[in-house]
Amino acid sequence: MSDVALNENMPNDALPRTAPKRLLGPAAWARENLFSNWWSTAITLALGYLLIRYAVSFVDWAFVNAIWTVPYNAAGQPDTSACRDNKGVGACWAIIADKHRFILFGTYPYDEHWRPLLVCALFVGLYIVSAMRRFWNWRLAVIWAVTLTVIGILMWGGVFGLSFVPQERWGGLPITLILATFGLAFAFPLAILVALGRRSQLPAIKALCVLYVELIRGVPLISLLFMASVMFPLFLPEGINIDKLLRAQIAIILFAGAYLAEVVRGGLQALPKGQYEAADALGLSYWKKTGLIILPQALRLVIPPLVNTFIGFFKDTSLVLIIGIFDLLTAGKTALIEPQWQGFGVEVYITLGLIYFMFCFAMSQYSAGLEAEFNRHRRR
């Protein structure tokens, strides 16, 4: 009987009965897993002590003894002496209160901060809409085009009565979101084409794709960014100057594209040959076969490594600091240069970490949901 019940072709409703559940109360669970013998009891107690001790001292530092505001003198300069006296005892969140606008928006003109704020909100809205499968059709392309245009208008200005803000003054979170969003939005289709090209029958296309992936993967992103910012302009004719941000953006797209291409290729290789043959036998053309049969399956297989790479690149955008672009991390670092606030890096970095974490955690949660939904057809 057990053999029949294990038969994977058996529909669910035919199972004779559900497997017995093992119910354990918290106390019983703890006894079984944490205090089953003297050795595990000792480890449990030691680890528990350390955990609680550090949790308590962190809460003390971060909340109980923390300083949230500092007085300002007549010149508008903050007086941070209270914070300095409290160092090591309590956090000084006053630096965030004082500097949050600089950290978020960099050197963007202070009075115009509503514009980058709106841009960030638009980006988040764009992510939410893109995440909804209801919009996965031609409408999404329109939404992206419109949103990105509006974002461009808001950031640059110069029309509709908005004052012009040159790109050198942009900074903070909008830069990070621009680099990451454009980076992945262009790198992903590029990666798919390159992955397909690497499996092409045409030797020239195949060689080109292999060359691209191997060249880009072989150098660190930092050197690619340097090349984009320092060397690339040397090759351009006199008078033509491509925006520095755009150059960094292209470097990031090329870099992410190479890595994503390998991830996608892994998915393509995991598909059984029979899927290609069945599509061929039905008379589907190469692009229809690829778009309707191959990619939908291959991409589902690689959602975890794909999101892994996405998250990695979201954080790697912070490397643009070495070519003097003011992303979120650079803005945070710069905020610390001011004499009054020197030495309060921990507070700033915790805040930056939380911001990065929110975006990355949202991505990984979303991908987990997507994976569950997409793989429903595997469940029996």
Partner: protein, 260 residues
């Protein structure tokens, strides 16, 4: 065979052959897998191909819709010659349906979507019409109630019947079967064979690679025996099975019978 059927095959006798292979040769590297294969299949004819493992049966029928490329000789399907011309290939693939040993359904699509995909995207049929057609064929293979499920939720026999329905939805003139029952449990073999018998009764041109002797006796007009890339013997099922001429066929039949 009924009188009506002898009549139809007589009528079709002077039509051009559905499939014509002339001195077809194929190599995998240095392995010569098809050697001077000549085969002509008339419209409406049912041919069963058998032979030992590795004799080139799969390769032979896969050359007919170009899943494999032959290197020498000519293959024409319904008067269209297989060549590097993609238009001709498209036309041939539209005429020829194929059923695989391992089903090869698309696991990410429902049964209904599996069946409507090619009619919608290749034949440019409106979705409603394609769905009606798919339901018709799913009814004919007797699983219309599974239309909304995914392939992974079906038994092997059901999956293979869906695969047959999927191929039929393209309304091909010729059906190729590559050992459609050899991946199935014994109790599911019959349901698939029944479906194929039913298909044979509609007058479809069929080439089946199979070792199911009962099926061959019941529906085949001709049995082709292959060994080491050659067609060694062919003829009516009765003659082939009861009165083999060559030693190779005798050996093969004795092995098959022992296996069963």
């Amino acid at each position: 065979m009924s009188a009506a059927e002898t009549l139809t095959s007589a009528v079709k006798a002077d039509a051009p052959p559905a499939i014509l292979l002339e001195r077809v040769n194929k190599w995998f590297g240095s392995l010569h897998v098809l050697r001077d294969v000549n085969l002509s299949v008339a419209q409406g004819e049912r041919v069963v191909v058998c032979g030992p493992s590795g004799s080139g049966k799969s390769t032979l029928i896969r050359c007919i819709n170009r899943l494999e490329e032959h290197q020498e000789g000519r293959i024409s399907v319904d008067g269209i010659e297989l060549s590097d011309d993609l238009k001709a290939l498209d036309a041939i693939r539209r005429e020829v349906g194929m059923v695989f040993q391992s089903f090869n359904l698309f696991p990410h699509l429902t049964i209904l979507e599996n069946c409507t995909l090619a009619p919608i995207w290749v034949r440019k049929m409106p979705k409603k019409e394609a769905e009606a057609l798919a339901m018709e064929y799913l009814t004919r293979v007797r699983i219309p109630e599974q239309a909304g499920k995914y392939p992974g939720q079906l038994s092997g026999g059901q999956q293979q019947r869906v695969a047959i329905a999927r191929a039929l939805c393209m309304q091909p003139k010729i059906m190729l079967f590559d050992e459609p029952t050899s991946a199935l449990d014994p109790e599911m073999i019959k349901e698939v064979l029944d479906t194929m018998v039913m298909l044979a009764d509609t007058g479809m041109t069929m080439i089946c690679v199979t070792h199911e002797m009962g099926f061959a006796r019941q529906v085949a007009d001709r049995v082709v025996f292959m060994d080491r890339g050659e067609i060694v013997e062919q003829g009516e099922p009765e003659a082939i099975f009861s009165n083999p001429q060559t030693d190779r066929l005798k050996l093969f039949l004795s092995q098959i019978l022992r296996g069963h």
